[in-house]
């Protein structure tokens, strides 16, 4: 009898093939569930999935748009990996992104009539600074007052949103912008250079790839990466090894905030070109899924950011061609994360059929 019942047993060794397999399983299941939802809604599932996942990237322009969306997602997700590896749940990247945009964008607005090669680098620095400072708040609250970083970092998202809102309807409002709540457009030297003529994919992509490579190096080759991992797995073991827990928490938050801030600056100085209320379609939250889907691994994050970026484009196309609300993208993202987490069982445990003696 027992022979045929599957049982769950702990794995003795990390299996790298399973690490690849799990996201794949999750994607396949998400697509199956997605087509089921589409059929229930009365759409042809094949056509819907085609509209959602194939047609958006069937042109060069579409592919460039994919990279435009994947850039901030990958950048924030790689930053989040520093936190998640350390078992810190910073879910306020959206706020850190907003602050980065405010700081960096502020520089552009201050120098609205000054051009110079130094302007963009200065904005980049300000963007990193803004994001880091905003991330430093939950970090200090956690290390000094033991507050739950999930809640504080999230609350700060809304505070940052209101600050941006205040600025674009108040002091930073474009004087010639009629009643629209937006800032002056940035001047040419405050804009991220485009990589190819006529396509929106911009220099932020290069920065992102460089930071992904550096992060890969840090995670796999340095003692700092090891420290993040160990204290994420076991605080006691990290203390035994003599790692400074508070320092790690603060560094992870600062790095993550810096990356998110840079992503925010990349958006406003790249495709957007000014400050206004809706600078981000929830990139900061979606990046959480990107990070998990990429299994907190830099290479994985490159792939997962492309996949999730596709759900953004697909949702836009689905709205236009199928009259499905674009929020359906969130459903795919949520489902993907569910399946991924469920399939992770395979990483830590083996499903065994029958018995081995």
């Amino acid at each position: 009898m027992n022979f045929f019942l599957p049982s769950i047993v702990l794995r003795t060794q990390n299996s790298s093939s399973v690490n690849f397999l799990v996201p794949l399983i999750a994607i396949v299941f998400t697509l199956l569930t997605g087509s089921l939802i589409f059929s229930l809604l009365g759409f042809d599932p094949i056509y819907s999935l085609y509209t959602f996942f194939i047609s958006p990237i069937s042109s060069l322009y579409g592919f460039s748009e994919l990279l435009v969306k994947a850039t901030p997602l990958a950048l924030i997700a790689i930053g989040l990996s520093y936190c998640f590896k350390n078992n810190i749940y910073n879910i306020g990247a959206e706020g850190q992104l907003t602050m980065g945009a405010i700081f960096g964008g502020g520089v552009a607005i201050y120098f609205y009539n000054v051009e110079g090669f130094w302007l963009l680098p200065l904005m980049l620095l300000a963007g990193v600074l803004g994001g880091s400072l905003w991330a430093l708040i939950p970090a200090l609250l956690k290390t000094k007052f033991n507050t739950n970083e999930i809640l504080t970092s999230l609350m700060l998202v809304y505070v940052a949103t209101f600050i941006l809102d205040y600025l674009v309807v108040g002091p930073w409002k474009d004087p010639s912008g009629f009643s629209y709540p937006k800032s002056r457009p940035f001047n040419e030297s405050a804009r991220m250079p485009e990589l190819f003529n006529g396509l929106r994919v911009h220099f932020g992509l290069v920065i992102t790839l460089i930071l992904i490579f550096i992060s890969w190096f840090i995670f796999s080759k340095t003692i700092f990466g090891f420290q993040l991992k160990v204290s994420g797995l076991s605080i006691k073991a990290a203390r035994f090894a003599g790692f400074n827990q508070n320092k790690l928490i603060i560094s992870a938050f600062i790095i993550c905030g810096g990356f998110a801030g840079l992503a925010g600056l990349g958006e406003v100085s790249g495709p957007i070109g000014l400050l206004y209320r809706d600078i981000s379609p929830n990139y900061g939250f979606t990046a959480i899924i990107v990070a998990f889907l990429g299994r907190l691994h830099p290479i994985g994050i490159i792939f997962s950011s492309l996949i999730i970026a596709l759900t953004y484009l697909g949702a836009e196309d689905a709205q236009i061609f199928l009259q499905i609300p674009s929020a359906v993208g969130f459903i795919f993202q949520g489902l993907l994360l569910f399946y991924l987490l469920g399939a992770e069982l395979l990483i830590n445990y083996k499903i065994q059929f029958g018995k081995i003696s």
Binding site: T12, I223, L233, S234, A237, R239, A241
Partner: protein
Amino acid sequence: MGQFILDIQNISKSFPRVKANNKVSFGVKKNTVHAILGENGAGKSTFVKILYGLIKQDEGKIIYKNNELKISSPAEARKVGIGMIFQHFSLFESLTVRENLMLGIDDYISYKKLEIKIENLIQKYKLTLDLDAPVISLSSGQKQRVEIVRVLLQNPKILVMDEPTSVLSPQEVKSLFITLNALVKDETTILYITHKLEEVITICNSVTIMRDGEVIETSSIGSNTAKTLANKMLGKNLEEISKDFSAIKDQINFEVNNLSCKFNDPFFTDIINISFKVNKGEILGIAGVAGNGQTELMEILSGENLNIESGKILYNNKRIEKLNPQQRRNLSISFVPEDRLGHSAVPELSLNENTLLSRFYNNKFTKNGLIQKKILDDHTKSIINLFNVKCLDADSNASSLSGGNLQKYVIGREILSEPELLIISHPTWGIDAGAENFIRQSLIKLSKLGTSIIVISQDLEELIQISHKLSIIYNGTLSNTFNTDSIDIEKVGLLMGGGK
């Protein structure tokens, strides 16, 4: 009716990597104390879990009161009269004693009635327990009393006790034995699981000896002695351990003066004015019943807790109380805390990665913040070879090793870095006799090379066997030091229980 209240017939149980029980058969007579004796990993716990309905056997049956016992949960076991006292108290720390007791009653009667039932029982057994105290505030002896009362509430016919004395002081053990004798008179059969030979001789009427999942023998205690039981339990003679006082240098290596640390936290024991010295090449044992400040002292000695209130820690006459574990390691001090999984090793990481947890100036695992993979790999391989660690390879996860092998790995990792001082807590806790002997030998060998060693342990026999000097920790204070070659066991027992 047969002569047995419990007749075990050919019980087998396999787990993915081991056959934990192989055709286990024996009988238990009514109203006796029956021991199941075996070293760690002999299959005792597996058998007990089957008897209590926590897991199901693959084959075989248990005849209980002449009927086949068919249970699939502890609740059913309790219903037919089988009660269980666990080795690690299965109490709910932040709930009160009363609430803990109520959880042991299966009937869904009203809250009021439950309370009355408990009051009556406390009266009947004249047990001094503060019903409204949260369990964390109790001593180990009191906690065990709560466990016993909780089981007694259901009038069990068979009481299973898994290593009941492992956290008790010698005095508490005596009073436990008095209770057990009273219970046997009261028509209770006791199944006593242990690996301590002396206890079998003292309290039990008969004994089943298990080894490698099989029953070696079941007999009445009669002519058995500790020596004969030991041979049957181990199945082989282990290398005799002998220590050597000649290697001790007349030079103080490590000294603690008037160390105090207050926590204001019921989960911790305050450390009060502790002082001791260790010479080069000397092994100092710190004995005591669990929960008397050992963990707290260990964390201060390792530098994991730097918030001491007062006192000095001197190492080669240099004050180190402000240094963190890494800085202390840089001075060639090495640590092995009690908990293998999640403290001295990370279960989810490979052995290679675990080696990196303990960096010494001489092992060169990192250079300018970069991990030296090759050096790390070689080091891990030598730990595995020299310390006889059974594992697939250096990339195996720590969690895949047995307790004994992981402990050998951890201790090997520390010893191979040639520390001048090793501070180790419970070196052989919960591991098999072979690994235990190997580790004790390794510690003695290390001390002969001039390393000073501080061993914190609950196992008094172990400390007397390997250490040169011994102190007793009780309620956060440390006794004077005794020489172990002229020690008065009676007195040590008294000190462990808080006597003077």
